[in-house]
Symmetry: C2
Subunit: 376 residues, 2 copies
């Protein structure tokens, strides 16, 4: 297999390791900042790198529509286009296309849909998704799947999962026809049904992928059910391959998922929340829009190594948020991505020290305490 | 005088020098990036500093309304609030307040107006403007004046100018009552009428200021008339004091004004244009929205030392602008402020080398050539 993954330490089900790609190593557990339209919103690529992110995510759906996958290929690929020389994982486009509701039509072949930008007509199939991800120059390619909605009956979830498994096979065939240095991940579906998750995991393992994603979660089922599905799924995945929980999540989601054996995550939460005035901290999320910060000269967290977290007063951040200043988005996105990377680093170190259980206890204690007391 | 200004070199009417404040030296001719609401939009303060900006501008009107001047004072002043430790020039609030049209009422005492944010009622007078600028901790305080509209009859311009001169005296009295390390600039008005400009310059010189601004320009009169007013005004200002042309301008405005003896400038153009997809270059402004850049792998200017100008392709910048990405605003603002600072540096060096005339000729040649040819 072209894609070495070394597990360096385990602590319970949690594990820390390193995933080696031709564009660099990814320390796991890893959080991948989302760069939807070839930019991690509000950040320079070197800022993202400096935070300790080893890999970012790009979105097939957005990029195929604008500026176009073949255009990016002509311009030297996504890495050169957006000036990110580390690994990039691309999603398959399936998730976004499914969420187009009235604008798309599903078939065995794939999904036909209209662009949300200009109404133009497109078709995504496993083969086209592989082609697009290759054109982008992706380091980790995702199989084309259907993200089963929640709630779904067992019968609905079964049919959807079986379609995803057929698409996974087609993805693998199409991927293997290209002679690249990239890697292909399969995606486990099956809703909240243990039997279906097991069946999906086993089918994917039979096909054989470089890594295994767990899809169809964080779609409204709640944290307890999400953790349950992880516990029902992960034992059926090969231990020697990385496990990627797609679209997750809040900091406490990450901690709970790592403790259940997940290695990789992506989520728009730190970037999107940052643009909405929310800052993640070790004491939980805080909303800088809140009037309690108006006269507060204290920083978000003076002990952080991130300048956005350590150097700017809450009063200033509050002012920027209220004034809709671009700098509010920049600083809070920076804070949030820094916190997420710091959280991953702390988890890796705790696992390596055999102290993950203690880390989780302390994390939950502090995280549930809430923000420092307001100034009098 | 607490405010040493040294002219190091002259070339024709152009001059290069250094203005010394307690917070650092300002190399002149200087361009001051505008930090309206306590932020140079889209930029981190250290980025602005790294571009070579010695001083930035803050807006009294915006800051008095949000977050409030006294609040900023309690939080340690504007420098600490926005994390800019170099000099800050604050305007008097007059210009913005005048532009509120239906929402303000003028009297001899000052201007009463309603906030554009929440409709709350406020009054700006010369005394209140001095108080606010002191609360902000301004290094260069501007006298409170009326910006005479264009067009104005000679009689209208005279009355407006005479009011500004009475307000200038009141500003000086109020300013002198504070025992600070800051400096006060008077503002010449008088519309496009040489006699009035001369009278205004002489009256201000009699009152005595640390520097002299030329106001009421770049309000629709056009470049030729603006240059004419500079020629009618500057000879009547004391040569030993800095001259500041307010709210100007385009790169060719700056070159023409420096050649007529102006030392300082401020303008929202580089920041605002950057947010609108426009990039300033040595070959004139270019619009990254334009379809000609869609597939262009070339940079804005590969010879620049600014990463935004040198490292990102036009195709990528075009994509970011079309996608309304924050990074478009960041990179184009960065390019524009870098270009403006580079232009000022080039002018200072040309003046010091006694080669300013040649510089102007070459600048105009290149600037009027327009952008590099489109790719075939």
């Amino acid at each position: 297999m072209s894609f070495p993954f070394e597990v360096n330490a385990t602590d319970g089900a949690a594990r820390s390791g390193v995933l080696k790609t031709t564009r660099g190593e990814i320390r796991t557990p890893a959080f991948m900042p989302v760069g939807t339209a070839a930019t991690v919103k509000g950040m320079l690529p070197e800022q993202v790198k400096d935070l300790g992110a080893d890999i970012i995510l790009g979105n097939t759906y957005h990029l195929m529509l604008r500026p176009g996958a073949e255009r990016i290929a002509r311009l030297g690929g996504l890495h050169e286009f957006m000036r990110w020389d580390g690994p990039i994982l691309t999603d398959s486009g399936g998730f976004q296309v499914m969420s187009l509701a009235g604008l798309r039509k599903m078939s065995e072949e794939g999904v036909s849909f209209q662009s949300h930008i200009d109404g133009s007509k497109h078709m995504l199939t496993p083969e086209r998704s592989m082609e697009i991800q290759a054109a982008l120059g992706s380091d980790i390619v995702m199989a084309f799947d259907e993200c089963t909605p929640f709630p779904a009956t067992e019968e609905e979830a079964r049919k959807s999962m079986e379609l995803s498994m057929r698409w996974a096979r087609r993805s693998k065939v199409a991927f293997d026809e290209k002679d690249g240095a990239s890697n292909l991940f399969g995606i486990v579906q099956g809703g909240v049904y243990p039997k279906l998750r097991k069946q999906s995991a086993e089918e994917l393992t039979t096909i054989g992928f470089d890594g295994y994603a767990i899809g169809g979660l964080a779609v409204g089922e709640g944290q307890d059910l999400m953790f349950q599905v992880l516990e029902d799924t992960i034992p059926h995945l090969p231990g020697a391959r990385p496990r990627y929980l797609m679209g997750v999540g809040k900091p406490d989601d990450l901690v709970g998922a790592v403790s259940r054996g997940v290695d990789m995550f992506d989520c728009v939460l730190p970037t999107r929340s940052g643009r909405n005035g929310q800052a993640f901290t070790w004491r939980g999320p805080i909303n800088l829009k809140n009037a309690r910060h108006t006269d507060d000269p204290r920083h978000i967290d003076a002990s952080s190594s991130c300048p956005a977290t350590r150097d700017y007063s809450r009063a200033y951040l509050h002012h920027l948020v209220k004034s809709n200043e671009i700098l509010a988005s920049i600083l809070l996105t920076w804070n949030n991505l820094a916190f997420y990377q710091e959280l991953m680093r702390a988890m890796r170190e705790a696992i390596e020290a055999g102290a993950f259980h203690e880390f989780v206890r302390k994390f939950n204690d502090l995280y549930s305490q809430g923000d420092i007391a307001r100034i009098s």
